[in-house]
């Protein structure tokens, strides 16, 4: 229930500049997800927001107040630490209720709250244990519990579900979503789980090397990535980047691919390519856009069929990944498991470029913005 | 050969005296190994001696005194010195009181170095003059005079609140009741005497001293107390003749800056405290030779003189030239000879010459506790004393 403005925040450890001027501004009640490669500075940024690390430069404002130098306990923030940071000498119940106790919540209420949170996190039977007697996932849930028991102005979650099994993670994700909807508390959340990011976030900030690469809604990030890094980072399996030559076809620019059969793909924004005619650009095409031929897509404007040579197939349950190679780039295609193929086979696939994007080979920036 | 000597003569003067002996031993071709352990009247040294004896490695010679010699003799640790004694005619040069202490089972096992007189009173004449008081010769008189002195703003009695100092004072008061009383109480430990009215009187007088000491007396070392007399803060101190060393060190002259008197009521009496070196059984012949030489040298007049000049005591050996000694020492020597014949020469209980350490300790506990207790009556103290002595003798 607070808005957060991060202005040009920098953080150095000795020589290393870890945060290189972060600017993020989020609204009251927004759910911001931070993603980025390991070591890009997510935890450091979280710590700075919470006031646990002094920033080297810049300003942090919560609810319009400059809190850059406020002490953590005055910021009214609850956080789940990536490393849990449980109190080893306290039981699980004590760990969870400590924050409430500090805020002078009466004992009865605390107990109610503890049991509520414990039920939600399915750790009710562990309340009397010490952290050392818990499994990894149980510890992580206690860390969650400690934050969730409180009603702060803002939650910071640093990879809170990474050690949970898929089933539990889905349940927890739902709980967090519900909680957010109910309380409307501002949340900043680090995750490496794409589905978590896509389903939970109001907006996603993609970081790299201490800089924010793109800040936008999940759909924006997914469909309209600012650069090659963002495009490649979000989505699993990652977007395919296929070197393609800009050619002219029927008077408009299109992209020529050297698959088994040479194929020319139409492009939704041909004008963006006009300046690059004859050059090679990188075509970004997500795996689900290269599928087995699907009758109902046949004949659509940006759909083209082409033959590819299967290098590897990877069954993944619901889908099978078919890996091929185009112009020396590995390309993943998502097909129905029923569409069977063997490595070495040449099969027909359907390329749907309606959502394709293109990048400059050198600068790695989007060309079609 | 080598002699290792365990002793607690560590102060400057004592060390100088010891060095004389050491030099003589070296001249005689022996090696002197000095094992000094100071503290609490030899308590630490005794601990060391026990530990070394138990380890099977006792020193050739150790400073032991009084009845303790008998205890070590009982345990069979001591060696026979009869040969040296015979050559040195110890039986004749030593007074019988002294020689009897040095013998175990009729054989010499130790050599005496000195005789201390304990029942001395040291006074600052200046203070007396200022207070208009005169030197007391009885304890009743002491009390009247002390009151005058106190009224004049001086501390009448310089005293240190340590058990042995309390005992020294107590012993002096008891001695004033007569040598028979003293012997009966502290040598034969007769229950009757211990519970007698006289004893109650002794305790009462003793308690009376409490108001003549200053508030800071607790735990004070005896020499600090002496310095109070020297400085003119206090009038008197009851202390053995070793106190003289303090006066000398401060550059004071006997008879002028300070005076020595026997403790009130004990002028003809002499409580003695004899230091001696006992000889332990050693294996090698060399060491035995050295040991015998050491015993011999201790009794030589040169050593006796130097040592006692330094310590303030008198030589254990009779018929020594006395010209180097001061007036107080002369008085001591005279009293020693005189009292020996009258039966007024008594061993100091406070310094472990009269009774074994168990009884001594038990008496000390009662005495010191009584002196510091606000509520205990003399009768109670006497009762406690009698019971404690009995318990210790068990």
């Amino acid at each position: 229930m607070a808005n957060l403005v991060i202005e040009n925040v920098k953080k150095r450890y000795g020589q290393n500049e870890i945060l290189k001027g972060i600017n993020i501004s989020i609204e009251t009640g927004e759910f911001l997800i931070l993603v980025g490669p390991s070591g890009c500075g997510k935890s450091t940024l979280m710590n700075s927001i919470a006031g646990l690390e002094e920033v080297s430069d810049g300003r942090i404002m919560i609810d319009g107040q400059d809190v850059t130098f406020a002490s953590p306990k005055d910021r009214d923030i609850a956080m789940v630490f990536q490393s849990y940071a449980l109190y080893p000498n306290m039981t699980v119940a004590e760990n969870i209720s400590f924050g409430l106790e500090m805020r002078k919540v009466p004992k009865e209420e605390r107990e109610k709250e503890v049991s509520r949170v414990a039920d939600m996190l399915q750790i009710g039977h562990l309340l009397k244990r010490k952290p050392a007697q818990l499994s990894g996932g149980q510890r992580q849930r206690v860390a969650m519990g400690r934050a969730l028991a409180r009603r702060p102005k803002m939650y910071l979650f640093d990879e809170p579900l990474s050690n949970l099994d898929a089933k539990l993670r889905v349940e927890m994700r739902t709980e967090i979503k519900k909680l957010h909807q109910k309380l409307g508390t501002t949340i900043v959340y680090v995750t490496h789980d794409q589905i978590e990011a896509m389903t939970l976030a109001d907006r996603i900030a993609v970081m790299k090397d201490g800089e924010v690469q793109q800040l936008g809604t999940p759909q924006e990030i997914y469909d309209d990535p600012a650069n090659l890094f963002v495009a490649g980072f979000m989505g699993s399996p990652a977007m395919n980047f296929i070197p393609a030559q800009v050619v002219e076809q029927n008077g408009v620019c299109a992209l020529s691919l050297k698959t088994q059969s040479n194929v020319v793909l139409p492009f939704p924004k041909p004008d963006a390519l006009s300046g690059h005619l004859g050059q090679t650009v990188l075509l970004g095409l997500r795996p689900e856009m290269i599928t087995e031929p699907q009758p109902h897509k046949e004949g659509l404007e940006f759909v083209v069929k082409a033959d590819i040579e299967v290098e590897v197939t990877e069954p993944m349950g619901a889908d099978t990944m078919i890996v091929t190679r185009i112009e020396n780039a590995e390309v993943n295609c998502r097909s129905n498991p029923a569409y069977s193929a063997q490595p070495g086979d040449t099969i027909a696939m359907m390329f749907d470029t309606s959502k394709a994007v293109v990048f400059d080979c050198e600068t790695e920036e989007r060309l079609d913005k | 050969g080598e002699v290792e000597v365990l002793h607690w003569w560590t102060s400057g003067g004592e060390a100088a005296a010891i060095n004389v002996l050491k030099q003589e031993m070296t001249d005689a071709g022996h090696t002197w190994k000095d094992f000094a352990v100071a503290g609490g009247g030899g308590e630490s040294a005794m601990t060391v001696l026990k530990s070394r004896a138990i380890a099977g490695n006792p020193p050739a010679s150790a400073q032991i005194k009084g009845p303790t010699i008998q205890e070590w003799g009982d345990l069979g640790f001591l060696t026979n010195l009869d040969d040296v004694a015979a050559k040195g005619e110890w039986d004749t040069v030593l007074p019988s009181v002294v020689s009897s202490v040095m013998k175990y089972d009729g054989h010499y096992v130790a050599a005496p170095v000195n005789v201390h007189r304990v029942n001395w009173m040291w006074a600052n004449p200046e203070v007396f003059k200022k207070a208009g008081a005169s030197i007391p010769t009885t304890w009743d008189q002491f009390i009247t005079e002390a009151k005058k002195i106190k009224a004049a703003g001086f501390t009448p009695l310089a005293h240190g609140g340590q058990a042995w100092q309390d005992a020294t004072l107590f012993e002096a008061i008891a001695l004033a009741k007569g040598s028979d009383f003293y012997n009966s109480a502290f040598l034969s430990m007769s229950d009757e005497t211990l519970r007698s009215q006289d004893m109650i009187d002794v305790f009462s007088t003793f308690k009376a001293m409490r108001e003549f000491v200053d508030p800071g007396f607790s735990g004070r070392d005896w020499n600090i107390a002496t310095s109070m007399v020297i400085n003119g803060e206090a009038a008197m101190q009851i202390m053995g003749d070793w106190a003289k060393g303090e006066f000398t060190a401060a550059g004071k002259k006997a008879g002028i800056d300070y005076v020595c008197y026997p403790a009130p009521g004990t002028s003809g009496q002499f409580t003695f405290n004899i230091d001696s070196l006992a000889m332990f059984e050693v294996d090698s012949e060399d060491a035995q030779m050295a040991q015998q030489d050491l015993a011999r040298l201790i009794l030589e007049p040169t050593f006796q003189e130097t040592f006692n000049l330094n310590k303030g005591s008198i030589p254990a050996r009779l018929n020594m030239p006395r010209d180097k000694f001061d007036t107080c020492a002369h008085a001591s020597m005279d009293a020693f000879l005189a009292s020996a014949s009258t039966g007024d020469l008594v061993p100091s209980y406070a310094h472990g010459m009269a009774v074994n350490s168990m009884v001594q300790g038990a008496i000390n506990d009662v005495v010191t506790n009584f002196f510091n207790s606000e509520s205990m009556t003399a009768e109670e103290a006497v009762d406690k004393l009698a019971r404690a002595v009995k318990a210790a003798n068990m």
């Binding site: - | 560590t10 490695n57 060190a249």
Partner: protein, 293 residues
């Protein structure tokens, strides 16, 4: 903890900080008072001590007492001050501290990370044992040392100090290692490290603070020990405390308090030096980042 004391922007913080320093300095003064008395006394001459007050400054700076304490004062038949005894003390203290610290560290390591049936019980027994009054063990220990043939030697004393110091060193290390995550040892075992390698390579490097504490404790205890030193040393292996005791406890003749105090300060110098040197290693713990959760 680094963050607790950091931001000092508000005036309240500043006031608190000033109060903190004031308290620390006031306490420092209280702790120093006896030392000041000793120091001042050591610089006065005997006459001044007799007449002056405790905290009065010496009339002139006079290091006579220091010189005498170091190399001139008599302690029995020798008048060489306490200097010759320093070497004896070092010969006892250094091996005894090293051995007892190492043994304690190993014991603590076993008791916290290589438990075996009865190891906890033994630890308890060891701890209870250290409450035995040292006075009662004098005689049996003397007998044992005699039997071992090391009575009244330096080795004998080292042995005694090690035996009775190990209970404490073990206690320190065990309680410190109790907080070292078991996973570290597990990981090292999988990496193929043996008992000693784990100790030497993994455990010891993170033990700095507790090693410092142990060394401070052991060094002080052994350096300042009088009872064992006097009872089990030979005449030529007496530690400095025995000399100091002899110097101080002279029963007859003038007491030179200035020399006593100077000697005491001199005798304490090695220990103080250890505090200063070892103090540098009161560093922040090193287990941070070792394990998650």
């Amino acid at each position: 903890m680094s963050n607790i004391a950091k931001r000092q922007t508000s005036t309240l913080d500043k006031v608190l900080r000033v109060a903190l320093y004031v308290t620390l300095l006031a306490m420092a003064f209280v702790y120093l008072a006896p030392f000041i008395v000793m120091l001042l006394t050591s610089l006065k001459d005997v006459e001044e001590i007799r007449t002056g007050t405790l905290l009065s400054l010496p009339a002139s700076l006079d290091f006579y007492a220091w010189g005498k304490a170091w190399s001139g004062a008599c302690t029995g038949g020798t008048c060489e001050g306490i200097a010759p005894y320093f070497l004896n003390s070092f010969q006892i203290v250094i091996p005894a501290v090293l051995i007892s610290t190492i043994v304690g560290a190993l014991n603590g390591y076993v008791i916290s990370h290589w438990k075996f049936r009865g190891s906890n019980f033994f630890f308890a027994a060891l701890l209870l044992g250290c409450f035995i009054p040292f006075q009662v063990i004098l005689l049996p220990m003397a007998k044992t040392l005699g039997w071992l043939g090391v009575a009244n030697t330096t080795s004998g004393l080292v042995f005694v100090h090690v035996v009775y110091g190990v209970a404490f060193t073990t206690l320190f290390f065990r309680n410190f290692y109790q907080a070292v995550p078991a996973e570290l040892v597990k990981a090292a075992r999988l990496d193929g490290a043996g008992f000693f390698t784990i100790f030497y390579r993994i455990i010891l490097p993170i033990s700095t603070p507790i090693i410092v504490v142990t060394i401070i404790w052991q060094f002080t205890q052994i350096w300042n020990d009088f009872l064992f030193g006097v009872a089990f040393s030979g005449f030529d292996t007496q530690p400095v405390t025995v000399a100091l005791n002899n110097l101080v406890n002279t029963s007859f003749g003038g007491k030179e308090y200035n020399v006593d105090m100077a000697a005491a300060i001199i005798a304490a110098l090695p220990t103080l030096l250890v505090y200063v040197l070892a103090g540098k290693y009161f560093v922040r713990g090193l287990t941070a980042g070792a394990v998650k959760g």
